[in-house]
């Protein structure tokens, strides 16, 4: 059984520890699980495990490329779950994928097998507040927290509702755009975080376009945690392997703990 996302994050946040959540596209590389272990070793508080989808509308080039590689490697949700189940990983695992992958398996089966693989959180970005209910109920019954997104465009009242519904943490979208490495942090970060701070919410983790230790540091001054996806995935695509991932995540850890 996995480690509860919400319990772990609540506890860490209470200790004023900043949360670090690296994202890895499952199956993009033969050694992806070693990389998952490496980033945990480097100080990840949770790992976001991406399941590839043919039509990832919230992802930019880097994660698209990783997803295509993964699909070409024959990755499926259940092959990922089976592989994860063989390792025992000491942080909460958050599955990230698009809703058709979940829906196609059926909520119950997907949640059951995910939970059995140690998954305790889910991010399904195309399940909006209005659509997420069914999945969230089933997920909860399997010990999976479903994380919702708040965007710079989300109005105040809606932010309140989303934060009330989001479990484990709330995913603060750092900018109006898709995943991808960015030279500079968006001006939107401040706005979206303070908008969430104004309402009751689980820990606030900022993702999408956070690419460097410097940026992670800046974000962590305002938010409770950072999610780093494309920048890490790019290194894996470039062949830096577990070692490179370890080094990068260590540098992120160091930055946010500064």
């Amino acid at each position: 059984m996995g480690i509860s996302l919400s319990e772990r994050f609540d506890a860490l946040t209470k200790e004023k520890k900043k949360l670090l959540i690296p994202y890895i596209m499952a199956g993009m590389d033969d050694s992806w699980l070693d990389i998952v272990e490496a980033v945990i070793d480097a100080g990840a508080d949770a790992v976001e495990i991406g399941l590839p989808f043919s039509d990832p509308i919230l992802d930019g080039e880097t994660i698209q490329e990783a997803g295509l590689l993964s699909l070409a490697n024959g990755t499926t949700a259940f092959s990922v779950f089976a592989e994860l189940a063989k390792r025992s990983l000491q942080v909460p695992l958050v599955v990230m994928t698009y809703y058709n992958i979940v829906a196609h398996s059926g909520h119950e089966r997907f949640a059951g097998e995910a939970a059995a693989a140690g998954i305790t959180g889910s991010i399904v970005p195309d399940l909006s507040l209005e659509e997420v209910g069914d999945w969230q109920d089933v997920a909860r019954s399997h010990g999976i927290d479903s994380v919702l997104l708040v965007a710079p465009s989300t109005p105040h009242e809606r932010t309140r509702e989303i934060c009330a519904r989001s479990k484990g943490f709330v995913y603060a979208v750092a900018r109006m755009g898709v995943t991808g490495e960015q030279g500079a942090l968006s001006d939107d970060v401040h706005g979206v975080v303070s908008k969430i701070r104004a309402v009751p919410s689980p820990p606030i983790c900022v993702g999408i376009g956070v690419s460097t230790p410097e940026q992670a540091f800046d974000v962590s001054r305002e938010a409770d945690g950072v999610i780093v996806g494309s920048a890490l995935v790019r290194k894996i695509l470039d062949g830096e392997g577990a070692q490179g991932a370890h080094a990068f995540v260590s540098s992120l850890r160091e930055a946010i703990d500064r």
Binding site: I57, S128, T154, G177
Partner: protein, 408 residues
């Protein structure tokens, strides 16, 4: 369907749920179990804004009048209904065509883009983005944008930009920027993905002008409303021409907008509604429920829920999904969905050209292929059949030439 009315004691035409057919979807944008708004949170406010703006505009006679007058003065509406005298004799049925091929830019797509371009302006936005497959919706969007002085960017799969160089240039002539999409399969569905990804970054000043009755709420509903002029006109014309209610109302299905617009005019009648998909992209008849591009609908997908590419002779039907309302109409049995294959479609195109002097686009040739196959079989002799001639074949002539004559 006739039944005895107990009150007035005479036989009356009975239509199930007459008031409900092709009405407004529910607040979550559902048509039965299909539809909805499955997009990432950053886009939700834009969808809500659009829904509000559309509701407001569609209830505003000033807006509706401007929309209608542009369709009339600029778009060439009303389009006529043409009786196919020679083919009707050949087939033993009465075959009528609703001539969307005569609308400006050569297909029904103009109806929708005029509506959305007006709405863009009304929302205070000055840019439109659009996706396109073969280029019809791209050309239409660029046209509407030029007319209203909006900036326009069209996303088109890189493979499609190569296959359709002339349509790319046509859009450029109309002042639009065409962006080749290199992600995924580099075709239509990826163009939609890319347009959505871009929309996220520009929602403030940009409207996403979707090309069919697909995508997140309110698009499937809004596009159908902007296309219902086809069916409303056709229903009126059928009366005026003495056809009455046609026995069959037939349309091809890509995303489903020409069919939805046509069906809307006949949903509450006794007409049998038939949507014809390309065999290689038959989301309803060969697909299964799923979620793509913001909607729950029927999709072509593999056993893992990965979306398949659609493949047919007709680029405009090569979409792996279908508008959610069609999935619903199929579910409740109000419309029937059939398939047509490439070979019979080519034959249908040639037959209509040589017998009636109309070269149809490959898309509506699917509808005709089904009619040709079923006339005298599934379609009883003597039936009246109204086909939505959704577009003209000029765009397809080079392709048909290379297929039929093996030229490059």
């Amino acid at each position: 369907m006739w039944t005895m009315d107990p009150l007035i004691g005479v036989e009356v035409e009975m239509v199930d749920n007459a008031e409900m057919m092709m009405g407004t979807p529910d607040d979550d944008g559902r048509f039965g179990s299909f539809g909805g708004r499955f997009v990432p949170e950053p886009l939700i406010p834009a969808c809500l804004e659009l829904e509000a703006a559309f509701k407001d505009a569609w209830g505003d006679p000033v807006f509706v009048e401007e929309y209608e007058s542009i369709l009339h003065d600029f778009g060439g509406r009303p389009t006529p209904i043409t009786f196919c005298r020679r083919l009707s004799e050949d087939l033993g049925i009465s075959l009528y065509l609703k001539r969307e091929d005569l609308a400006h830019t050569g297909s029904h797509k103009i109806n929708n883009v005029i509506g959305q371009a007006l709405l863009t302006r009304r929302m205070g936005k000055h840019k439109m983005i659009a996706e396109t497959g073969a280029g019809q919706h791209g050309v239409a969007s660029a046209t509407a944008a030029a007319l209203l002085g909006l900036e326009c960017t069209v996303y088109m799969g890189e493979l499609d930009t190569q296959r359709q160089e002339l349509n790319v240039f046509r859009m450029e002539l109309l002042g639009a920027t065409v962006v080749p999409v290199t992600s995924g399969s580099k075709t239509l569905k990826d163009a939609v993905n890319e347009a959505m990804r871009t929309w996220v970054t520009q929602v403030d000043d940009t409207h996403y002008c979707l090309g069919s009755v697909m995508g997140p709420h309110p698009f499937p509903w809004m596009v159908r409303e902007f296309q219902r002029v086809i069916g409303d006109e056709a229903a009126l014309q059928s009366k005026e021409l003495g056809i009455g209610t046609p026995d069959y109302v037939v349309a091809c299905i890509g995303g489903g907008s020409n069919a939805a617009g046509m069906f809307a005019g006949f949903a509450d009648s006794t007409a049998q509604l038939i949507g014809v998909e390309a065999s290689g992209g038959a989301a309803i008849t060969s697909g299964s429920p799923g979620v793509l591009h913001g909607m729950r609908s029927q999709l072509i997908q593999d056993d893992q829920g990965q979306i398949s590419e659609a493949h047919s002779i007709s680029a405009g039907l090569d979409y792996p999904g279908i508008g959610p309302e069609h999935a619903h109409l199929a579910d409740i049995g109000r419309a029937r969905y059939e398939q047509a294959g490439d070979d019979e479609v080519l034959e249908a195109l040639q037959l209509l050209a040589s017998r009636e002097g109309i070269i149809p686009a490959l898309e509506p040739a699917h509808g005709l292929a089904w009619i040709l196959r079923e006339a005298g079989r599934g379609i009883p002799k003597g039936s009246s059949v109204l086909l939505n001639m959704s577009g003209r074949g000029d765009k397809d002539v080079a392709q048909v030439l290379s297929i039929l004559k093996g030229r490059p």
